[in-house]
């Protein structure tokens, strides 16, 4: 059978994920050290796991309210107010989802008519552009600048705006660059969003993993709560990726629209994950602080080592990824660098272009792994880079 006769055109047209291709190769090399993992190396804190077990023992195996457990929504409301500022009504302005990924999908489908345009910054999380396409929107990528640590660049959004733009998608701190957004830039962007009547989808999943300065949510700026869908979840800060639980906060009319889709496609997030999330919000802050401290030390180490090797690597201000430029130092493009590094040094990092064209020349290296492995991985990389540099010099000489 010919797939193009059956598979929907907009799905056929989606490019394969660059990460997927790389995953297939790394999976065949169990001895490789992977710095390509986009999730915490920590196991979910025991108290959180134990609360899920306890819920199971008590027979909590049912559906929940489509919006999520009310007790969890109340706790989310309080947590968001404490950490991010805005107040959301747990009865009507919060929706518990199956991870932030579902929340992004549902938000886009709730907002976009075919052809509506969405501005988003790049390099970015791999699902943004495909999610926009799957919602029949048109994705407009706005590059962030390595010279500015890949921070939010409101002027670039202003310049990229065109008629038909309806939504602005943000992810600060950013996967894969660790870029953040300061007050002045957020203020400027908020003004632009109001002037252009844009709805903002703000994915703040890495907020707790901010190492420099204070994380600020765009939803907390004047006039923004009414036009922002604030997305957050438990995967990164609480090391709960496998629980698949996140949430969306926004004005009731928007949450209602998202609910219409969520109730038919997902019904509700798994109750055991919601119980675990409740424990995480009530008693998990010490664990978050402990993990953040360890990430911060590893970040300082890996960035210093990358710069010692000759990479140009900024200090990521958030998330658990370093995003060094590797091409100028080795003469290799990012894809070739990753393939050769894996083959010759058995270290996996992800090509920056897997996160959009603006990642050219860069690779993403996760420091969500133990010091033991980081030390060994960077030693191997250093030997590889030294060799590649010698070859790079030899080629023009020979020519």
């Amino acid at each position: 059978m010919n797939p193009s006769d059956y598979v929907a055109e907009h799905v056929l047209g989606l490019p394969r994920s660059g990460i997927r291709d790389f995953f297939a190769i790394v999976s065949e090399m169990p001895q490789a050290i992977s710095l390509g993992i986009g999730e915490p190396d920590f196991v979910t804190p025991w108290k959180i796991r134990e609360s899920a077990i306890f819920a199971l023992e008590r027979g909590k195996t049912s559906y929940t309210d489509n919006r999520g457990l009310f007790s969890l929504r109340k706790e989310i409301s309080s947590y968001v107010e404490r950490h991010f500022g805005p107040t959301y009504d747990p009865r009507s302005e919060i929706l518990v989802t199956v991870g932030v990924s579902e929340a992004i999908d549902v938000a886009l489908r709730a907002l976009l008519n075919p052809g509506d345009k969405v501005l988003y910054h790049e390099p970015c999380y791999v699902s943004y552009a495909p999610s926009i396409s799957l919602a029949f929107g048109e994705a407009i990528a706005v590059g962030t600048n390595p010279d500015d640590f890949f921070a939010l660049d409101p002027d670039a959004f202003v310049q990229a705006w065109e008629p038909g733009c309806k939504v602005l998608m943000l992810n600060f701190p950013t996967n894969p660059t660790g870029g953040t957004a300061d007050r002045a830039k957020l203020e400027k962007l908020a003004k632009f969003a109001v002037e252009r009547d844009l709805i903002v989808i703000s994915d703040e999943i890495y907020a707790e993993l901010t190492y420099e300065g204070e994380h600020l949510s765009i939803a907390s700026f004047p006039g923004m709560q009414e036009r922002t869908i604030f997305l957050h979840g438990f995967s990164k800060a609480f090391a709960m990726t496998g629980f698949r639980v996140g949430f969306a906060c926004g004005p009731d009319w928007l949450i209602d629209a998202m609910m219409k889709i969520h109730q038919y496609c997902m019904m509700c997030a798994p109750i055991l994950s919601q119980e675990a999330a409740l424990e995480a919000l009530r008693n998990g802050s010490d664990d978050v602080a402990r993990m953040r401290d360890q990430y911060a030390k590893r970040r300082d180490f890996i960035v210093r080592r990358f710069n010692e090797m000759g990479f140009d690597c900024h200090l990521p201000r958030g998330s658990f990824y370093a995003f060094p430029s590797v091409s100028s130092c080795t003469g290799l493009d990012e894809v070739e660098f990753c393939h050769r590094l894996l083959r010759e040094a058995e270290v996996a990092v992800v090509p920056g272009t897997a996160f959009g064209a603006h990642g050219k020349g860069h690779v993403r290296a996760s420091f969500s792994t133990s010091f033991e492995r980081l030390v060994e991985a960077t030693d191997r990389m250093e030997r590889f880079v030294d060799q590649a540099r010698i070859e790079d010099r030899a080629i023009p000489a020979a020519g």
Binding site: S17, I19, F22, F23, V26, S27, M29, A32, S34, G36, I37, G38, E39, V43, Y125, V126, S127, N175, Q294, K297, D300, F301, R304, R305, A348, V350, S370, F371, E372, V375
Partner: protein
């Protein structure tokens, strides 16, 4: 706690060449600080962490609750120090509650531990009573789970 100490605790790797890499300091600097910590008595030494079930099947351990008589001017210290000096004693702690000292003793078999308690420990002047509990199995040692936390082999090697 210094960066060096917290890194040693986190990595459990005492090699100065590794620590100097992690901390971005010269090997000489790291060695000097380790020496300072030793001289101050903060860093007492290194110990391998073993799974008792796999490494010492010919040894037994017992937890002993010891009641002693406190002494004028010395309190519990003189007796506690005296008990701690036996090489069979692995740890000795002053406790609140129904007894005074919690003593962990190691021996090559049950008989050896029983002999130590009855002939050495219980006969010390000032020891009022002992209650001995033999350890049957250990599940966690020095903050580390022993064998029941399986590695997640399904975790993808690369993910978004």
């Amino acid at each position: 706690m210094s960066d060096l100490l917290s890194t040693i605790l986190e990595t459990a790797d005492p090699r100065p060449e590794v620590l100097s890499k992690i901390l971005g300091r010269s090997r000489e600097e790291v060695e000097a600080e380790i020496q300072d910590l030793r001289d101050q008595g903060t860093l007492l030494g290194w110990m391998p962490l073993l799974d008792p079930a796999k490494s010492e099947s010919d040894q037994v351990r017992a937890v002993i609750e010891v009641r002693i008589t406190p002494e004028r001017e010395g309190g519990f210290d003189r007796l506690a120090n005296r008990i701690s000096k036996f090489e069979e004693v692995e740890a000795c702690h002053l406790m609140s509650g129904g007894y005074d000292l919690l003593v962990i003793v190691r021996g090559k078999n049950l008989h050896a531990v029983a002999s130590f308690v009855s002939e050495r420990l219980a006969t010390i002047e000032g020891v009022l009573s002992t209650a001995t509990h033999f350890l049957l199995r250990s599940y966690k040692e020095h903050g580390r789970l022993l064998g029941n936390e399986s590695e997640n082999t399904e975790k993808p090697a690369v993910s978004a």
